[in-house]
Amino acid sequence: MIDWLTIAIAAVAVAAGLLCIVAGLIGTRPNDLTLGATLLVALLLVVQLVVAIAAPAFGNNATGSVLEFYVYLVTAILLPPLAVLWALLERSSRWSTVVLGVATLAVAVMVYRMHQIWFVQVA
């Protein structure tokens, strides 16, 4: 796994999360910008998945539990699309935009945990 890429994904997820939460709180319904930001996070996670699968072939192995890593990664990939679906079911509500933000912030936390599992092992 690539250190800077993982940090960049987490940063994008935080930015998308804050954008959606603020947009939702000021009354914006889900729109191209907020839905797009959420889907961008999903796309980056797919890139992360490809990198994680390829990494061991280049001698880049996780220092922690590989199983735990993939549980986080797969869950994180599923979150943004589910949030988008959930938001589109009630398009007329600004709270649906907040839902997008909550999901992408959760992704950011999960990416941070993935980074820890791959690179830093305290135990």
Binding site: S65, W86, S93, V99, V102, A103, A106
Partner: protein
């Protein structure tokens, strides 16, 4: 009218609560599965509690999503239980760390989860009160129409 009751619980702000509950259910389930598999003997009470919390969060998420008065009651019970759980376990984990050597979602009032486990049940209970069946709360009807 159970249909209107159901719709109101999972609409608007309710969606934000449901996704937060869903995420907490996910986090608690994940953590407890790894704890139970890895080293149950190290801290049986803490780990059993993690598993119990996980189940409670799952049921609460479903109860908020599901239609009808009965599920409303289930939501009320599980969310109240969470509030009691986080307060009791949070307090115990501070005064009796020996009993809780390992982290649970409720340790230190949910500090490891940005205190979401402490705030969420309060919001959940307020939300349930607001979306209660109209007959019981006429003012709540206009409030909830927000």
């Amino acid at each position: 009218m159970s249909t209107s009751d159901s719709n109101r619980r999972s609409q608007g702000l309710g969606r934000v609560l449901i996704i937060l509950y869903g995420l907490l259910a996910l986090a608690a389930t994940g953590r407890s599965i790894f704890q139970l598999l890895d080293d149950f003997d190290k801290a049986p009470i803490a780990y059993s509690l993690s598993a119990l919390a996980a189940v409670i969060y799952i049921v609460a998420t479903i109860a908020l999503l599901a239609p009808g008065e009965l599920w409303g009651r289930v939501a009320l019970i599980t969310i109240s239980f969470e509030l009691v759980g986080v307060l009791v376990v949070g307090t115990l984990s501070i005064f009796d760390p020996v009993l809780f050597p390992a982290k649970t979602v409720w340790s230190f009032y949910g500090m490891g989860y940005a205190f979401v486990p402490l705030v969420l049940p309060v919001l959940g209970l307020l939300w349930l009160r607001r979306t209660r069946v109209p007959i019981l709360n006429n003012r709540g009807l206009t409030d909830a129409a927000l």
